[in-house]
């Protein structure tokens, strides 16, 4: 296995729903290497999104540890977690979550500005990224003027432009038709290959599973199996 990027050690997450507790994750342990192209699959409520949120530092585990390159996210303050996301993580959401007041160019530029870079320094980089996701002609359009597939391409460009170590894609094809889904997945595979950023999908879309190199299946908050495309399979 390549160098470890993420390590999950007996991670549990319990939510309080009314007066009852709901266990979203129950003692999940796994490792994700740099440049991985993998997915968490499983039915609704199996804990896929919760796992992505914990890895992305958007949430904290009830017990267990999430380590990013050996650093425990548990020990980070809110500000440090924000910096961790800003520097290392690119998010792609099911509903795109683009900033509606910004153009395609500005949406892609945004993470770089957040990282303290000046527009003049990164203009070319942003334009190249927009071209790479096939939206050269839409660069000045607002999200409301784009199709779902185009919006998701903008989201991919936004996630990749800052050259993150990890991209977390939560059901990225759920709102797309088949053709757009394949285009987006193909694009992400190419970009994973080119940029070497690890990509973790959370999905129950079978189309995604054709592209990924590793599939971790979750059921009732536990890893039921962890399958690598190279043939190795760990059943738990």
């Amino acid at each position: 296995m390549s160098e470890t990027l993420i390590t999950l050690e007996r991670v549990s997450k319990v939510y309080q729903v009314g007066e009852e507790n709901f266990t979203a994750l129950n003692g999940v342990s796994l490792e994700v290497g740099k440049g991985a192209f993998m997915s968490f699959v499983g039915p609704s409520g199996s804990g896929k999104t919760t796992l992505l949120n914990l890895i992305g530092g958007l949430d904290r585990p009830t017990s267990g540890s999430v380590l990013f390159q050996g650093a425990n996210l548990e020990n980070m303050s809110r500000e440090q977690l924000a910096a961790y996301r800003r520097d290392n993580i690119g998010f792609i959401f099911q509903t795109y979550n683009l900033l509606p007041v910004y153009s395609v160019y500005e949406n892609v530029l945004f993470p770089l500005i957040l990282n303290g870079l000046k527009e003049s320094q990164v203009r070319e980089r942003v334009e190249n990224m927009v071209v790479k996701v096939g939206l050269k002609d839409q660069i000045n359009k607002k999200p409301a003027q784009l199709s779902g597939g185009q919006c998701q391409r903008v989201a991919i460009a936004r996630a990749l432009v800052k050259d993150p170590l990890l991209i977390l894609a939560d059901e990225p094809t759920a709102n797309l038709d088949s053709e757009n889904s394949y285009q987006v997945l193909e694009l992400m595979r190419e970009l994973n290959h080119e940029y070497k950023a690890a990509v973790i999908f959370s999905t129950h879309d079978e189309k995604v599973t054709r592209y990924i190199r590793r599939e971790v299946r979750l059921e009732d908050g536990k890893v039921s199996w962890d399958k690598h495309r190279n043939g190795s399979e760990i059943e738990t």
Partner: protein, 389 residues
């Protein structure tokens, strides 16, 4: 960047943002209008009181109190030289006595005010008395104000019996001729007052050279045998009334502020509620919650600044126009205010600056208070639009 995002978000709000700006702008205009009109009202009321009665203060016979008419007759004094030698433009000698009119067989207690005819310190419509001899004849010429005339059913040319007592206590009575019904702005020298020539009243009451007070243009220092009543004392009732007006205006001001703050607060609450996903996305992209709070607060600042611009655009032409036409308050003739004319607003730059600053500060605070909760939002719930329900 914060400013850029706030700016774009602000314009995205469209009509909601405009209505907020409009409410704040109208409140600023209403506030300035209210304060300036009150300033104008106060300035004119005090000026009218000074011009018609108070002057720069009164040198009064000790113990004279306008509210105790039974004692007026006994509290008179000869005019000392230091006051008597003043020019007619710098003093007005006044003798006040009690009397009773008998219009239409009714008894009507009145205050008889005798005033020197050559004085020009006070502005009173008494020209009708000037042409008479310094000794009263069979009928005594008198002027009454509009209010007094209406109450006593008197009109120009009427004669009516007047009864009074002289210095020795002897009661005398004679007809008086109403030579004029004067338009007296100040109701406290109109209602229940009969204006006579000073020389006539002195002659009628056998108080040659005596006065109740001498109104002067300015304080001349202590005068032997007289006590000085300054403007603050003589206008204390009006000043108290105006102070109360200030308090009332503050209540109105407070209500306006509550409206502005509620409007801004409500918009911000709605903003956060509607834009939870956007907030969650900003958090996911690595923006610190404090920075998100700044962006939303900046939107409030933008609203306040635009409100200021709109207030200038709408307010300045209105204020200029209003300063020309004024506010007709002739209906106040029945009230006790010494004002019965058109009021013109008195714009005080410092007061406007302070008021506008307070409006802006409060509206910015109202924009900030509801967005503070962003720092406590759970980003995973915000991303799903469920952090605030």
């Amino acid at each position: 960047m914060n400013w850029n995002i706030a700016n774009k978000n602000f314009y995205r709000q469209g009509l909601r943002a405009f209505l907020n700006v409009l409410v704040t702008a109208l409140s600023i205009i209403a506030l300035i209008f209210m304060l300036s009109l009150l300033n104008g009202f106060q300035a004119q009321a005090t000026r009218n009181l000074v011009l018609t009665d108070v002057g720069g203060g009164h040198y009064r016979a000790p113990g004279f109190d306008i509210l105790t008419p039974t004692e007026w007759e006994d509290i008179t004094m000869p005019v000392p030289d230091v006051l008597g030698n003043l020019l007619a433009k710098d003093k007005a000698e006044v003798l006040v006595q009690q009397g009773q009119l008998y219009p239409n067989r009714r008894l009507f207690p009145v205050q008889l005010r005798g005033i020197a005819m050559d004085q020009s310190l006070l502005s009173l419509p008494l020209a009708g008395l000037k042409s008479f001899e310094d000794k009263p004849g069979e009928t005594i010429p008198a002027v009454v104000g509009v209010k007094m005339a209406r109450k006593a059913h008197l009109k120009k040319g009427d004669t009516v019996v007047l009864k009074w007592r002289d210095k020795g206590g002897a009661v005398d009575a004679r007809d008086i001729l109403i030579v004029d019904v004067g338009d007296i702005i100040n109701p406290r020298i109109d209602d229940g007052v009969v204006w006579l020539r000073l020389d006539h009243l002195r002659s009628m009451t056998d108080r040659d050279g005596e006065v109740s007070w001498v109104a002067v243009r300015e304080y001349l220092g202590p005068v032997q045998g007289f006590e000085f009543h300054g403007i603050e004392i003589l206008m204390s009732d009006l000043l108290a009334l105006l102070r109360q007006d200030r308090i009332n205006s503050k209540i109105l001001w407070g209500i306006l502020m509550v409206l502005v703050c509620t409007s801004v607060f409500n918009t911000q609450i709605l903003n956060i509620f509607k834009r939870q996903k956007e907030i969650g996305t900003l958090m996911a992209l690595g923006m610190e919650p404090k920075r998100i709070v700044s962006i939303f607060t900046l939107e409030g600042v933008l609203g306040a600044l635009w409100a200021l611009v709109l207030a200038v655009v709408l307010g300045v032409p209105f204020f200029i126009w209003f300063h020309g036409v004024g506010f007709d308050v002739t209906h106040l003739s029945e009230a006790s205010f010494p004002i019965r004319e058109t009021i013109y607003p008195d714009y005080q730059p410092r007061e406007i600056l302070v008021s506008v600053s307070i409006v802006l500060a409060l509206s910015i605070a109202s924009a900030w208070v509801p967005v503070r909760k962003v720092t406590r939002l759970d980003p995973t719930l915000a991303l799903r639009g469920r952090a605030i329900t």
